[in-house]
Symmetry: C2
């Protein structure tokens, strides 16, 4: 962690920053965003904020205003103009027991981190994860803090040559990668899971869908079964930090970095 702002205040002692009563720690009672900061600009800030609002609404947490977020970011820019910005908003600190007092002041944690190392090759290798995603429409789509499933999934492998793991839900549908959404191109259609029961509605996922429609590529958001990847001509994963990453290998399956992936990458100016 390069720097930390807690409710807009710079905190030097990261190790003693958060209340032991914070409901983020007690119950994972909050939401977060992970954003790319480049040249002093937060990429897709409005989209990140919109998803934060949606998550706060679902959980009944009073969200920070965009003005407050922008003020936090401006303060953080004094420290650095490039990196990963992670914003956590919890319901606040106080009380014992699941029920929250309406008087709680939400906690805002903004941290700046180094960018992850760039991929050494233009396409990535992925694997299948054994850890499944539970289905709950009430929590599907939002980026809440209950992320044990993703932790367990990423802890399944330690081979640095494998960049991502694909995850199924408990019914066996393909949902996402551990920290990315997934797309494939098959029968002249770009397909991505609809995330009605689980998964996170990624900011890059929305960008890819919009751009594909602009480029007159047929798009489907629907339930997807893992077997469908066998018929795909292109597979890629997306997130807000790394943009599009072509999947060139998944167990015994291999793909090229195809024309649709290349077209979308170029159109989103992400290389």
């Amino acid at each position: 962690m390069i720097a930390l702002l807690l409710n807009g205040q710079s905190v030097a002692d990261v190790a003693h920053a958060i209340s032991a009563e914070d409901r983020g720690l007690q119950y994972g009672d909050g939401v977060f965003e992970t954003m790319l900061l480049r040249d002093g600009q937060v990429r897709y800030l409005a989209d990140h904020y919109a998803r934060l609002l949606l998550g706060c609404e679902r959980l009944g947490i009073v969200p920070p205003t965009m003005k407050v977020i922008e003020s936090d970011i401006a303060q953080m820019l004094r420290v650095g103009s490039e990196g990963v910005l992670k914003l956590i908003v919890t319901r606040g600190a106080g009380g014992r027991g699941y029920r929250s007092m309406p008087s709680l002041q939400p906690t805002r944690v903004l941290s700046l981190h180094a960018l992850p190392a760039a991929d050494t090759a233009p396409g990535i290798t992925a694997r299948w994860c054994d850890t499944r995603l539970a289905r709950n429409p009430q929590l599907a789509g939002i980026k809440h803090l209950n992320r044990i499933e993703q932790v367990l999934a990423q802890n399944e492998w330690h081979d640095a040559n494998i960049a991502e793991g694909l995850m199924l839900d408990t019914e066996g549908e393909l949902i996402c990668a551990t920290a990315a959404n997934v797309f494939f191109f098959s029968e002249r259609t770009l397909v991505t899971p609809d995330l009605r029961f689980s998964g996170i509605r990624g900011v890059m996922r929305a960008q890819v869908l919009s751009m594909a429609r602009l480029l007159k590529i047929d798009v489907e958001e629907r339930s997807v079964w893992p077997q469908e990847l066998a018929a795909a001509s292109e597979v890629f994963v997306t997130n807000a930090i790394r943009g599009l990453r072509s999947v060139v290998r998944l167990d015994a399956q291999n793909w090229q970095i195809g024309p649709v992936t290349q077209q979308l990458t170029a159109a989103l100016s992400w290389s």
Copy 2:
């Protein structure tokens, strides 16, 4: 909160106790226990510890030894001999991203809280919650820190006369109350949901099951549908802090505090 020990060290400044990098906050990556302290004794400590071990094993967290826990408790007893003891064990502080480094030192947070107010009547009123529990066998039974569903369920009502809310899973099975397990007596059998897909295997739940078997009461742990309560002659909920609480009202349904509930309450010396 009356007192706080962080990794065995007394912390006066509860509001600045936890690392902003703690994975308990970042991902709900940990487990907890809520224990009854009375007359300087932690009730069912060995059972709480066993469940903590199970949770740590499922999540791949190195658990604290019983000796360490006992030492923490002994230290806490200097502050008070009665109350609720809450122990949180997270995977530790560090890193950004779901994958955890194997070198992390788990974080141990032991806090002492006042006992909740006693019930004003011998039986409680319950309600049905709209919030559903997701199904994931990999996480079922353990008391992990991903508890948004319970928070949302308890936030559904504000009527202080309603003490608990019953929860269904996403398939409509009856699983538990928001902070308790649920039992009912029907056709000469004591029934409780088997929690194979969701819910927490409560310490009091296990005590009730063992005691019922000792008392030659027929017991079933199985999948339960909410409609079955209509045929029940007794309904009660259990947790480690409040023991057994008879449910005497649930919407339009009413029950008496029945002989099986009374017998189990007496046998477990819990009044």
